[in-house]
Structure formats: structure tokens, C-alpha cells
């Protein structure tokens, strides 16, 4: 596909065998990011810019369905089955298993989106919040551990994956 030549994927990014970068727009991925198998980054209608030191686990889906550039910051952890469609995602966030951030939402920095939580359109998750539970309750906590967690995983994974 012609678009894959426009991708600016850094050399230190670990793109594993079945992870897929799809779509007709360029995808830019910063250094030291790891894409697990089965992860899908789909620049459907607009380009995607992903920062450094991110971790995208299996079955995670990052789709850009808008014309604008989707920006994802650094040190994010996108766990199994998480789906991100929002345009602006900050840094040091954790998107737990099967969580979903809809188009039109925005996520700040240092957030934790809990497992199976859906952030609806128009919702902005402020910095340092944890969203959890069926009713999407929120609590502001000082989550300074996110970066260290991701960094540890990033150190351990390149020896295991290929």
C-alpha cells in the first residue's frame, strides 16, 4: 500500500508480526513504542500521530475517523481490547482492557480509564482522574505511577517479543 511509505515509524519501535497499521493516511509513531500482536492502528480518514514509549496490547484498535490529526501522547498503556477513537489523548494514561473512548471525547494526562468503561462522545476526562465501574464514576487521584509502570514493561518486552 502506498501510504505505508509516508509513515514515520521510528527505528526503535517494535512492530510485532500481526500488528497492523492500516488506512490511507500516514501514521507517525515515536521512539521506543511497542505494538503487540493483533493491535490495529487504522488511519481511516485522517493521519495519526503517536508519541514515544507507548505500549499497545493485543486487539487494541486506534481508529481515526475524522479529517484532523489524531494525537496520542507518550507513555500510554493501551491494554487488551481497548478502542480509541478520540482525537486528543494525553500522556501517561492507562486504557484498561476493553475500554472504549468514543469520537468527540478527549482524555488528558495521567488518567486511568478502567476496564470495560466507555467514555462517550463530548466527554472530556481531566488530568489525574480515574474512571471506573459500570456507572463511570470518577475520582481524582495523583497517579504518578503510570510512567514507571509503562517504562518497566517497555524494558522487559523487547527480549520476549520479536
Amino acid at each position: 500500500m502506498a501510504d505505508r511509505k509516508d509513515d514515520k515509524v521510528d527505528k526503535s519501535v517494535l512492530v510485532t508480526r500481526r500488528s497492523m497499521l492500516e488506512g490511507s493516511f500516514p501514521i507517525e509513531i515515536g521512539p521506543n513504542t511497542i505494538l503487540h500482536p493483533e493491535c490495529r492502528i487504522h488511519a481511516h480518514k485522517g493521519p495519526i500521530k503517536i508519541g514515544s514509549n507507548n505500549l499497545f496490547e493485543e486487539q487494541s484498535v486506534i481508529v481515526n475517523n475524522t479529517d484532523q490529526t489524531m494525537v496520542i501522547g507518550d507513555y500510554n498503556l493501551v491494554e487488551v481490547g481497548a478502542r480509541i477513537k478520540a482525537i486528543s489523548i494525553g500522556s501517561r494514561n492507562v486504557f484498561e482492557c476493553k475500554s472504549s473512548v468514543a469520537l468527540g471525547a478527549a482524555v488528558g494526562n495521567d488518567c486511568v480509564i478502567g476496564a470495560a468503561v466507555t467514555i462517550c462522545s463530548g466527554d472530556k476526562v481531566e488530568d489525574n482522574t480515574v474512571v471506573y465501574g459500570k456507572d463511570r464514576e470518577r475520582r481524582t487521584i495523583k497517579t504518578k505511577r503510570n510512567q514507571a509502570d509503562v517504562q518497566c514493561a517497555l524494558n522487559a518486552l523487547p527480549k520476549l517479543l520479536f
Binding site: R18, P37, E38, E57, E58, Q59, V80, G81, E96, C97, K98, G114, A115, A116, Y132, G133, K134, D149, C152, A153, N155, A156, L157, L160, L161, F162
Partner: protein, 238 residues
């Protein structure tokens, strides 16, 4: 006379009925067979039926004890740590079985994952437990958090989210998000689970070749040969 369909069909007896679980007196033997396409499954010597469309990483570290069914779309990450699957397990479509990681002295290590015998893991679940004992039934769309320990005879309802490090005592039913004890199970749940998995395995049967369609296949082949004699004839997909 059963319709032969190309999709996997699951008998209704495998689905949970109510939240307050009550054991029926007898288990109905499902009368319909679950057909699978023989070409899309690998059948091992121990009787495992593993779909070719399932995604197994680090297969040298994945141990499957026998008579287990792994359906298409399942992702098993053996490359992170060893994964042990028991016998007579059923792992339904698109589930992810992934060993959990643990922070230990500033490093991340991946903890081996053990799943016991006679377990049913339904579709689209994410299993990141440290240990799942025997006779466990995990529902659809579940998220089993990291380093969870599920004891024997546990039932996890559909759409539950188990927090990390949850310990599920035996003979309980977990539900909700975060997962909590919702009901209790009778001691005979062990045999119920065993019967379910064993009948599922017995009825998980290769699709028999329809004698009508093979006649159609041979007719198609002969027309192809008459049109393009240089091409080698190939049996069309049943």
C-alpha cells in the same frame, strides 16, 4: 436431520440461564452436533482441536493437555510466559489468554498462567489471571484482571470485570464490575461442568461431506477441465 452450516453453532445448554444459579436435576444431552470444517482445525494426537485461525504465540511454551477445543480468533500469548491449558477445555472465539505481568524489584516479569481441566471460556473474554483451577466457566466479554486466582467450580457471569489480584473462592458465582460474589453453586457443579465440556467435545464433530455437494463438485470439475485443460483440477471448498 440437522442442517449443515458452516458456522459454529453452540447448544443452548451451554448458555447461562439466570443469575441465581440452580442446578437442574439432569443435564440435557444436546441433540445437535456442532460442526466444524475439518480443514480449518488442527487435530492433535491428544485429541485437541485447535483452529488454524487461532493465534498462538510462543507455541513451545503452550501446553494443552488434551481434548481441548480452541476456536478461531483466540489469541494465546505463550511468548510472554508459559501457558498451561487443562484437558477438555473449550476456549471460544476471540478470547485473549495472556499471562499477567508483575512488578518485582523494579522489573516486570510475566507470571505463568495455568488453566485447569474442564474449563469453558466463552467468546471475547480477556483472561489475565495467574491461575484458573478446574471446572470454571467464564462468560462472554469478561475481563479477568491480572494475577487473579480462580478456584475450582467458579462461574463468572457475562460482562464481568474482575479486579486485579481477586481471589475467587470455590463454588461461587461472580458478576458485575467490579466482580463480586453474586451467588453460590451447589457441590454438584463440578459434575455439571464436566458433563458440559465432555458433551461439547463429543458433539464437536467434523462436518460430514454432503453426498449431494460432491456430485456438484465433480460436475464443476468436469466443466473446468473441458474449458481449461491445462489447469490441474482441484477439489473446491466444501
Amino acid at each position: 436431520h440437522f442442517p449443515i452450516s458452516s458456522r459454529i453453532w453452540r447448544p443452548a445448554s451451554l448458555l447461562p440461564r439466570a443469575i441465581m444459579f440452580e442446578l437442574h436435576g439432569t443435564v440435557e444431552e444436546p441433540t445437535r452436533k456442532i460442526y466444524f470444517d475439518a480443514k480449518s482445525y488442527i487435530q492433535t494426537k491428544l485429541g485437541n482441536k485447535i483452529s488454524k485461525k487461532s493465534i498462538l504465540y510462543g507455541s513451545s511454551k503452550i501446553r494443552v493437555l488434551g481434548k481441548t477445543i480452541v476456536e478461531p480468533g483466540v489469541v494465546i500469548r505463550g511468548d510472554l510466559a508459559t501457558v498451561d491449558l487443562g484437558k477438555n477445555c473449550v476456549i471460544c472465539e476471540n478470547s485473549v489468554i495472556r499471562p499477567p505481568d508483575q512488578r518485582y524489584q523494579g522489573k516486570t516479569i510475566f507470571v505463568p498462567l495455568k488453566i485447569g481441566d474442564h474449563c469453558i471460556i466463552e467468546s471475547n473474554s480477556v483472561i489475565q489471571a495467574a491461575k484458573i483451577a478446574d471446572y470454571v466457566h467464564v462468560g462472554k466479554n469478561c475481563v479477568i484482571g491480572k494475577r487473579c486466582m480462580l478456584s475450582s467450580c467458579v462461574k463468572i457471569l457475562d460482562n464481568t470485570v474482575l479486579a486485579p489480584n481477586t481471589v475467587c473462592p470455590p463454588f461461587t458465582v461472580f458478576g458485575g464490575s467490579p466482580g463480586k460474589v453474586v451467588a453460590r453453586l451447589p457441590p454438584s457443579y463440578q459434575f455439571f461442568c464436566m458433563e458440559q465440556t465432555m458433551t461439547y467435545y463429543r458433539n464437536f464433530v467434523e462436518k460430514p461431506r454432503d453426498p449431494g455437494s460432491s456430485a456438484r463438485q465433480s460436475a464443476r470439475q468436469s466443466t473446468r477441465q473441458s474449458r481449461a485443460p491445462s489447469r490441474t483440477s482441484k477439489v473446491s471448498k466444501s
